[in-house]
Symmetry: C2
Subunit: 555 residues, 2 copies
């Protein structure tokens, strides 16, 4: 070749450079995948991960959650983030791995709705703090049975994806929250956890901020008492920077009942992949194929299992761990062809139409509300359920909602608000693809509809398929798109009825006003033509008005 | 609480369920993160991962790449995908890990431009095949020095993220490609690799297909000879399905020179995070702080290192592994404040303006072309470089480009085409945010400009920050957005000059045509008024025409 001399790489020299990549190294280099691309987003993501964990822990332990979030500015681009909960606490031995090891947790290997599912979030927040400030994550935790609280400071050894414990002591600590009412004592609980992370961050209010996250969190979790406080650095008279602490802002509980307890389920056979079926049969403790189908899956009765085996031409009494590869293909096909009950729904805890309406009414004054909770469906064997809420405010009555601006969209997954990446989300796509003109809203081609409307979109699933580890948008599985579309159309029909009634009413009002204006002139004319007395003229006026009112009512 | 009895979870019972999640399990459940959401996308992603690896290997070994891609339909939703290259081959011992272990590779731990960087792609493709069909990935590979080729079939043990070798034999194999010209012999090479994966897949032509991927690949890699063939199942006369094999489609080489060899570099100190700096000083072999700064980073001269130490108030002779935490903060600050040379550019191999123009001209007949290659910049310490190409076809002259449709956008990262997730890509955002009206194109607010235009957008970097592991969109780092915007504006200015000349020309043409039409009538009128001879009349006509032409030229 006529070019400058190349380094003579060979298969052998290249082989020497091959090595393993630790998952922490991977995400350290790709921190944007975890939601830590910018200082502004980083602080929201850290709060979100901690609050999600706190809510999950409280609900699992049957505790009405109380959570506080504090942001303390340390320098221009530096904050300490402190999240405290009244959850069950974390046993000492688990603390380092929970907070300083990626891909570690209790929620990944079960099928049950929860906010966390990956075992990445809170460790990622700590890793980002460590990366940008070199500091450690500090955890205080007290369990119900422990005498004292533990205070650990941990970092991630990113080369090995293992926790490094830098400090470990017993301390006398209990989680304390702002008082229920002014003048009262602060509220102290017997158990709970506090996480403190220092990080490069920016705090800006707005649609993509911690404020908005917490507000939406309160809407979707009416059983939560939530406190929020920010300390920022302000210049004092001498020009020096001094911390200024704002007041606690508290979201009160709207209800005192926890969401229903969700149960972990077996996978539903429809949509399970061949490779997963293979692995499940290999791992089963059942001694017959029929037994394995019944035990390992949900909604496979003895009769259904028998039917599947027959359809596949397999012996129901065969040893499931020894089914040959081509037989599994037949089994796989037979499963898809066999009619089965829908998946059980007690693995999901949808918010419910009533609570969605309550949440919307609390936060968005409007003239019309509707909510739709669909029946559960399945994608890739995972049950999921879709909910939609909609609120319409008469133009000009709600300052947050412009009459000719794109509608406002709040997205939630397993009750956790999703703020970023709306454009990449299946829920947004479904919303844009519904023909809103048919339901009385303006809509530029392929865009969000326009109008003074808020949409509340929720997916509840035992495994929400997010488009990235930062859990900001839902992936475009066709089953999810379809369900979301149906839910939106159902809400759309209710909205259309309201809007068309409102439009007819407005039209009638306009006509009525027009005629009303002329009734006195008409009466005066009739008085002259028919030479009526003033009394007769007044009667004619009254009669005409009454006629108009009747007509109006019959429109 | 007034609700039905809860399972009494405690900190202790919850701790028992905590466990490690293998990275394979994680991605198996999240296969959409790797680009395997749908059967249609899966086949494109698998081809992409294999072709990327082949190109990287060829270029590193200084081999002019020749690659073939074969798709063989097995059933309605099932294909075998076969990719063959003439690369250096892979030594036997590395094959299982390279093809059946996630997060394993040679490209992650170095700073140098390559298509692959994560050590995930090809193993993920194999894992998807395994998940959907239960089959193994088959690899044939022959290195220059080996006597025979190796044939391995491997699967991933997803619980442990480790390869399981199902078959391992030596065979007599060499990669063979379709002949250079009709009637000639097929081309056989002495070394190369072939990967075969069977998977649930759909093959559909179009903008998001294997076809389009390969076409764009040929545009951005003019040194590549690429063959493509599809075998589909068609119904024969008896109604039975029979395979029908299409012809090889070959993209010929436009050049016979490889892109310049890129060199692995040290990180540039600007933009390196505090945590990374900390780790680097801990790991350095240098004995002084000054020495560490010089050795571990690029563009830190002895003088710059001295300046940084002084600025930070640190002893240049201090032991770098023992610098205290607060001292590293000072060092970090001093680094940012010290002026340093831009990063070296030999770690990057941009395509270059000339080759971009050649590529565009080959594939998109048009009337105007421009290309811009910007100087390298840095984000988070990683050098990157941005390139833009633009082609404008007069309305109606290129059937692929609608005059009033959004412009066509081709995105590339390290010479690899990006087809999906355009809406989530920083390159698209930069394109939408440029004010194209200023450059003579129509543009709906916040959208792509309209017009018969193709944009070619390329980012070359030692580490391209993708928004997901499937590498389909570039993350929104402000430095990248800024550079892309500058490049687009530069190309835009060239386009504007052309369009405004074209518009003036069109305007003049219009006037000219108008007058031209009336010259004979004018001459006839003059003949009557002045009683000119026919000869004189003809002369007047000629003079007027000449005048008009002169005027036109002076416009």
């Amino acid at each position: 070749m006529a070019e400058k001399k190349r380094t003579a790489e060979t298969a052998e020299s290249m082989a020497k450079r091959q090595r393993e990549i630790s998952v922490s190294e991977f995400f350290l280099k790709n921190r944007h995948l975890l939601g830590f691309d910018s200082p502004r987003k980083a602080i929201m993501t850290a709060v979100k991960e901690a609050v999600d964990n706190s809510l999950d822990a409280c609900e699992e332990a049957g505790i009405l959650p109380e959570i506080s979030v504090e942001l303390q500015q340390q320098a221009e681009n530096r904050f300490v983030v402190i999240i405290t909960d009244n959850g069950p606490g974390i046993v000492r031995a688990q603390i380092p791995k929970v907070f300083a090891k990626l891909l570690y947790g209790s929620k990944f290997h079960r099928l049950r709705m929860s906010r966390g599912q990956q075992g990445i979030g809170i460790s990622a927040a700590g890793m980002y703090g460590q990366l940008t400030t070199g500091t450690a994550t500090i955890i205080l935790s007290r369990t119900r049975s422990a005498g004292n609280a533990h205070r650990l400071s941990v970092q991630i050894d990113t080369r090995a994806n293992k926790p490094a414990v830098l400090g470990d002591e017993e301390v006398d600590w209990r989680p304390t929250f702002p008082p229920e009412a002014p003048g009262q004592e602060p509220v102290t609980h017997a158990h709970g956890t506090q996480v403190t992370i220092e990080m490069t961050a920016q705090y800006v209010r707005g649609r993509l901020s911690v404020d908005e996250y917490l507000k939406q969190c309160a809407v979707a979790n009416p059983h939560l008492r939530l406190h929020f406080r920010v300390t920022t650095l302000k210049k004092d008279k001498s020009g020096a920077l001094a911390p200024e602490t704002g007041d606690w802002q508290t979201y009160l509980r709207a209800v005192r009942t926890l969401p229903p307890v969700t149960k972990a389920i077996q996978p539903h056979p429809h949509g399970v992949e061949l490779g997963v079926l293979l692995q499940m049969l290999k791992d089963t403790a059942a001694r017959t194929l029929k037994g394995a189908l019944e035990q390992e899956f949900s909604r496979v009765s003895a009769r259904a299992a028998q039917e599947i085996c027959e359809r596949a031409g397999l012996n129901p009494k065969a040893n499931p761990t020894r089914v040959a590869h081509h037989e599994i293909e037949a089994l796989f096909k037979a499963i898809q062809e066999t009619k089965l009950m829908r998946p059980p729904t007690d693995c999901l805890a949808p918010i419910g139409e009533e609570q969605i309406l309550a949440g919307l009414k609390k936060e968005f004054p409007a003239d019309f509300y509707a909510a739709v909770t669909r029946a559960p469906e399945v994608y890739r064997g995972n049950p999921f359920q879709v909910e939609v809420g909609v609120a319409y405010a008469k133009p000009g009555t709600n300052a947050e909602l412009g009459a000719e601006e794109p509608v406002r969209v709040m997205r939630f997954a397993n009750r956790a608000p999703l703020l970023y990446m709306g454009g990449a989300c299946a829920m947004t796509e479904a919303l844009e693809n519904v023909n809103w003109k048919a339901y009385g809203l303006l809509q530029p081609k392929g865009s969000l509809p326009l109008g003074p409307v808020v949409f509340f979109l929720h997916i509840a699933s035992v495994w929400v398929p997010f488009t990235s580890e930062s859990k900001e948008a839902v992936a475009h599985y066709p089953e999810i798109l379809r369900e979301m579309t149906f839910a939106l159309q159902e809400a759309g029909r209710q909205l259309a009825v309201y809007l068309s009634r409102r439009r007819r009413q407005a039209e009638a009002d306009r006509k009525r006003g027009y005629i009303e204006k002329y009734i006195p002139h008409l009466a005066l004319g009739l008085q002259e033509i028919l030479t009526l007395s003033d009394k007769q003229k007044t009667k004619v006026e009254d009669d005409l008005t009454r006629m108009l009112e009747r007509t109006h009512l019959e429109t």
